[in-house]
Amino acid sequence: MHRLWNRIDFAFSSAWQNFWRNAAVSVASVLIVWVVLLALGSLLLVLHSLDQIVAIEKTKASAISVYLADTTPLSSAMDFKLHLEQDPRVTNVAYVSKDQALARFRQLPALDPSVIDTLGTNPLPASLDVTVRDIRDLGAIDQEVRNSPLVDKSPATNYEPNVIDKIILLARVAGIAGLVLIVGLTGLSVFIIMLTIRTAIYLRRKEIEVMKLVGATDWFVRWPFIVEGLIVGVAGAAVAVLIVGFGYRPAVINLQSVLIFVPLAFDPSYLRIVLAAMLGFGLLLGSVGSYLGVRRFLKQ
């Protein structure tokens, strides 16, 4: 126990001294770790939000409204409904009359219903709301119904495939760009931590020479520098964790007020995972950087 304690005490007190003796370089490495982890945490949260948005949009998008021409008789509309219901890809078809469509329209909060009243007539078409099993079939169904003479031509349906695709594309681009950025910054931070450790080793070269001379083991000599790297990693992670931890909810609330129609939500359970990942990655950066720093030099 005494020996272990001595070892820990020596490693931590030397590492702490190294950190401050070498303060400018140490602070630089803390900053770069901080930047990497901030980028990592933000990217994970952004991608998670985009995932959530895509998931919500997908449930909405599994249905399309097929607008019927005003000239279509109700019996033909019902035949058409029956025809669609027999399609194996379709799970449900609901008929919405012109009056029902108008009633729904009046309920939209952003619109002034008096606009409709001034027209005198009901401009909204009746529709068949078709829900499908797999949203990838929506495009094909959209193509089929467009050709029917029963269907209104302006517009034929509310099918809009691009919204989801655009969000998915955005998530993919953000993911790749973020990943490239993080990989680059990771390499840079490992390099800077390595230089920090090398500087610390240089400043301690006399101690190290004596340590080896009197029979200290390689790992006894290395530990203080590994611990110094871990201190850098934890310090950088701590600042980034605080910023992301306290900044996530206000950021979501601010974005919600700007992007009214986007289903953006605060997810505290995912935030905890992100913060843990940031801390773990900070420790990883610190230990890899310092290991690379001590590895070559202690071989002789």
């Binding site: 020996r3 304690w5 001595n6 004596v210 080896k212 009197v214 029979g215 200290a216 083991t217 390689d218």
Partner: protein
């Protein structure tokens, strides 16, 4: 253990046809064979660049021999694994011309450092440091820093540090190189005292006066070879006698 290792057939330090060529091609030692029994006191003499320091470095395995075998305390150094090297070093006390003290540590801390970094139990540290400081005669100087001490005192601190592991072998590489004659003699007296306690002492030196007065075993190296090895020898070979 002592009885088992100290037999005439197994010297404590043994070099058998040792060669050392540095990577840049310099041949530092060629065909050196030397045996040092336990409790011997040996002067290693020779001009600068003769190979004395190389020999010392080989014994603590700071360098590996290019050819031949070196054994220390019954261990073949060429087969010694790197992770076992620290334990060899703990059996060998070393001092140098430039003392190698840490300027930001006190006398007590400099000596204690050797125990701390070798994971000695800390509760034994204080009595051990006090013991070796009294051997070298530095009681009362525990809290001084190296730059507050004379050269001789600094070398005593280095000797005390080398003694904390109760080494079986004591290697001194030009220990009096930076010291005036009177102080040099004090250091030699200390080394004799250490030798009298049962520790083998090997001292590489240029100090002709000391070697001539002491009449101890002298091993002379020139051009990487042992040119003379005599008991009770002087710095230079006797004029009418060859080894």
């Amino acid at each position: 253990m002592r009885v088992a290792t100290v037999t005439p057939a197994a010297p404590q330090i043994s070099l058998d046809r040792v060669q050392k060529t540095y990577p840049n091609g310099t041949v530092a030692l060629r065909d050196v064979t030397l045996q040092i029994p336990k409790q011997d006191f040996v002067f290693l003499v020779g001009p600068s660049g003769a190979g004395k320091s190389t020999l010392v470095r080989l014994l603590i395995r700071e360098e590996k021999a290019t050819a031949g075998t070196i054994s220390v305390e019954g261990q073949d150094l060429s087969r010694l694994k790197r992770r076992h090297l620290p334990y060899l070093r703990r059996k060998i006390g070393m001092v140098f011309q430039d003392f190698k003290l840490l300027p930001n540590l006190t006398v007590f801390q400099n000596v204690g450092f050797a125990l701390r970094v070798t994971e000695g139990a800390l509760r034994h540290l204080k009595p051990k440091v006090e013991e070796v400081l009294s051997i070298v005669g530095l009681e009362g100087k525990e809290n001084k820093y190296p730059d507050q001490l004379s050269g001789g005192e600094q070398q005593r601190v280095a000797i005390a540090r080398a003694l904390v592991h109760d080494p079986r072998i004591f290697l001194a590489d030009e220990p009096t190189g930076n010291l005036d004659p009177a102080t040099s003699w004090e250091i030699i007296q200390l080394l004799l005292q250490i030798n009298a306690r049962g520790t083998t002492v090997l001292m590489a030196t240029h100090n002709r006066e000391i070697v001539d007065v002491m009449r101890r075993r002298v091993v002379a190296i020139e051009g990487g070879q042992i040119v003379r090895d005599e008991d009770a020898g002087g710095y230079h070979a006797p004029a009418l006698e060859s080894h």
